[in-house]
Amino acid sequence: MNQQDDTDFTDGLRASFSDDRFALVPTASARETIVAAARTRRRRREVAYVTGGSLAVASVLLGGFLLVSPQQPEGGTTLAEDTPSMPRTAEDEAEARMESGPEPRAVPDNATAQRHMTEARAGAAARWIQIGPDGYRSLRLGMSYDEIRATGMLAAQDDPPPKNCARYRLSGADVAVRHILVSERVGLAAVVANKASTPEGVTIGSTRAELERTYDAAEADDPKNYLIPTGKGGHYLFRVDGDRVSELSLVANNQDCGLP
């Protein structure tokens, strides 16, 4: 094919992109929706910044997560509204109601309950050992069996390396993790929690509502399994039984061991 063909083809492509059918009509409330959400987002960031300490760290981590994600649900626990360092005026309240759009929003009656929940979550994150977005302590998703063994964290140093996939326990002192799955092909495939928290404070025993609010995961396809990408080569798998998180694992995206 010659240069003229190429030019004709790309001209056709340009023409197809200017097709009228690509026109979308903004909704009447589009501007309001976007400006309100931008304002909420900015407040949340400012408060996370001034609050400092562990909350700020949690926000930074969460920010990494949510790099390209929708904002958290409006009805959720936003740091901006419940942090005592940010006194609210009547005007703020009115504005907040206007921003709320179609979602029901917390009114002051709920604020105390929400604050307790925030504190509980922050407390859980601080008290419990964390499984991070890409690993746990010295373990990193994708590490080979030999590398894992070299960390000295395995219960039995002389277990054989995995054929396909195998499960290993960590040394007895490590109560945060029930076991790990190691794949022959991709290395560390999953870290299955026993008593650990995500950096955002979700643990075994967290409610479904907390989980959904924390990860903006209100519409999970499968109500029993929530897969939340960590953006670092893995995702958190939360199993929810009834209304509570019953299992928590960090799973490598490319793992071939099946879900833990």
């Binding site: 992109f17 903004p26 304002r39 904002q71």
Partner: protein, 165 residues
């Protein structure tokens, strides 16, 4: 705090139709377009004063953000379409408006990065160098992605049955 966001509100009013269109071309789907535009604009709006200082062409800046967000699989969960009217909201079941447009359908089926490169090159009219800079990849990669995409498109358009799936 309020006034700078009033300025942002005006900007949204003026630019939203164009950005939605860009989103539609980029994602191939009106819902994804609406969601992508909303997500990116919320973030931009929350830093509006600093973005105004940083760039003289915020529309171009936003398009880059949208392209990058599209490539990094910005969509984790679906939410209601809030910023654009989609056919369902107008009360009828949508047929694919591009059902009989093999070229548009073929573009839609490209992998996200190839698709972004094609859209930036032939819809926005950016140079390979500008695309490379915007996406943080080398100009060589842009060239190879573009040529791979064009050859896929040619094949699919020549034999549209293949892309029916």
């Amino acid at each position: 705090m309020g006034n700078d966001l009033a300025d942002f509100g005006e900007f949204v009013d003026a630019e939203l139709p164009g950005l939605l269109r860009y989103g539609y071309v980029l994602t191939g789907n009106p819902h994804d377009a609406s969601d992508l535009v909303q997500t990116v604009l919320e973030k931009i709006g929350s830093k509006w004063p600093s973005i105004r200082r940083k760039t003289s062409d915020p529309v171009a800046y936003i398009r880059r953000s949208m392209a990058n967000a599209h490539i990094s699989r910005w969509r984790r969960v679906k939410r209601e379409t809030l910023v654009a009217e989609t056919p369902e909201q107008r009360g009828y079941t949508p047929a694919d408006p591009f059902e009989h447009e093999p070229l548009v359908r073929a573009v839609r089926e490209l992998p996200p990065r190839q698709r972004a490169v094609v859209v930036m090159r032939y819809y926005e009219g950016l140079s390979e160098y500008e695309i490379a800079e915007a996406l943080g990849i080398s100009a060589g990669t842009v060239k190879s992605q573009a040529s791979k995409a064009i050859s896929t498109l040619r094949t699919k358009v020549a034999d549209p049955v293949e892309s029916d799936g």
